[in-house]
Amino acid sequence: MIKNNKTANTLVNLLSASVLLGMVVNLYLIFQFAPEERTMGHVQRIFYFHVPSAWVSFLAFFVVFVYSIAYLWKREQKYDIVAVSAAEIGVIFATLVLVTGPVWARPVWNTWWEWTPRLTLFLVLWFIYVAYLMLRKFVEGDERVARFSAVFGIVGFIDVPIVYMSIRLWRDIHPSPVIAGGEGSGLHPDMRITLFFSLFVFTVLFFWLLIQRIRLEKISVTVNEIKKQMAY
């Protein structure tokens, strides 16, 4: 199942180099180029990690959704491999959102946690996809794992907009304390450039991680097949 395709390898190596370079440039932009925020100071720079991480995790979960449908439709293992890889990466980035959020919140809002719509949504999202990964861990049989997690991947993603609607409604009834300087409100042009570049680099990072994780999964699948053959 492992193809030693030279063109593919070269392209991926090129991608790795661009991710590395892009990240270095991104770090420069975030810490040097972007101006200091008026009220929050330097801690605001977490924003450039926090928002792209959130975007990447949404992207990852969307990939899980699409490939879960693809798996149930076509029943080919390659779709399941992409789904699980994307789910893992999504959980990692969702965790980053849930870590960078409180780290940013503490000095700015004077509390580690606030039940704002976005953070609450991410907490629920995190739980849904951790449940996805746990389901995969505790089910026996490759085909079953793929089938069950595909169903759950579809259900989980469809739930996301409904969860968001309900949290917004809940928040309207129980408004959170006034938070000064929301994200994206009146963004300085230099900040906007930094944000968009960071979003771009994180997206490329996502695809690079996805490719690496898919490769790993393919190797793992091949090893398991060999093990099964040797067992006979």
Binding site: V139, F148, I154, S166, L169
Partner: protein, 223 residues
């Protein structure tokens, strides 16, 4: 198809009538938790009144998970599921009949727990009994719709009973919010538009996930 649904549901109703496992365990569990919650909160304080809808729905949610865990256990262990799948009906008939059974039993337990709960926690539901029943109906349906589908998944896992709440709780967050807020509105005697506003989310949830479960159930039980 309707006939098949009622046939399979009737089988489960009769089985439950004989064993009374599901309803009894849910009922006793709910009452015990209500009592324990009473000890967990300071006696006779406002906190109880504010927290009452939340406590009520926590009880219902845990009890429903307890009950729904058993949905497919006998089917899978005794090979009944294969028999059902060999029958010349759509696979989804199995889902709908199980949904009907689960919903009925959870709703029954809720109706039994509600009067006792209002006595324990000194709440007055009498004024808003019809809105309350509506809220109960919509949100219990949501729990049952999702729970029946996930129960079919979790019965096939290594950690059987533990898997269902892990799958169920994050997904049913909208139901939890809708249920608690709507019940709270009923208790506070707020007007119907508020209750309806929250119930809309529950209805959207029910419709969307019924459609999703309707289409994905056959993938879960195929072998």
């Amino acid at each position: 198809m309707i006939h098949s649904i009622f046939t399979i549901a009737a089988k489960d109703f009769v089985s439950e009538l004989r064993g009374k496992e599901m309803v009894l365990s849910m009922l006793v569990f709910s009452l015990m938790v209500a009592v324990v919650f009473n000890f967990a909160l300071p006696p006779g304080s406002d906190a109880i009144e504010e927290a009452a809808p939340g406590i009520l729905w926590m009880i219902f949610i845990f009890a429903s998970v307890l009950g729904m865990n058993r949905t497919f256990v006998y089917e899978v262990d005794k090979g009944c599921l294969q028999g059902l799948m060999l029958a010349p009906v759509d696979r989804v008939v199995i889902y709908i009949s199980k949904l009907l059974v689960n919903f009925s039993f959870i709703f029954l337990v809720e109706l039994m727990v509600l009067p006792l709960f209002s006595i324990f926690f000194k709440l007055d539901f009498a004024t808003g009994i019809w809105p309350l029943l509506f809220v109960l109906f919509i949100n219990t349906l949501g729990l049952a719709i999702v729970g029946t589908l996930f129960s079919a998944i979790s019965v096939n896992t290594k950690t059987r009973e533990v898997m269902l709440p892990i799958l169920q709780f994050p997904v049913t967050v909208p139901i939890i919010m809708s249920a608690v807020e709507a019940t709270s509105a009923v208790l506070q005697g707020q007007e119907w538009s508020v209750i309806w506003g929250w119930s809309k989310i529950g209805i959207v949830f029910d419709v969307v996930f019924f459609v999703v479960a309707f289409h994905t159930f056959e993938f879960v039980i195929e072998e």
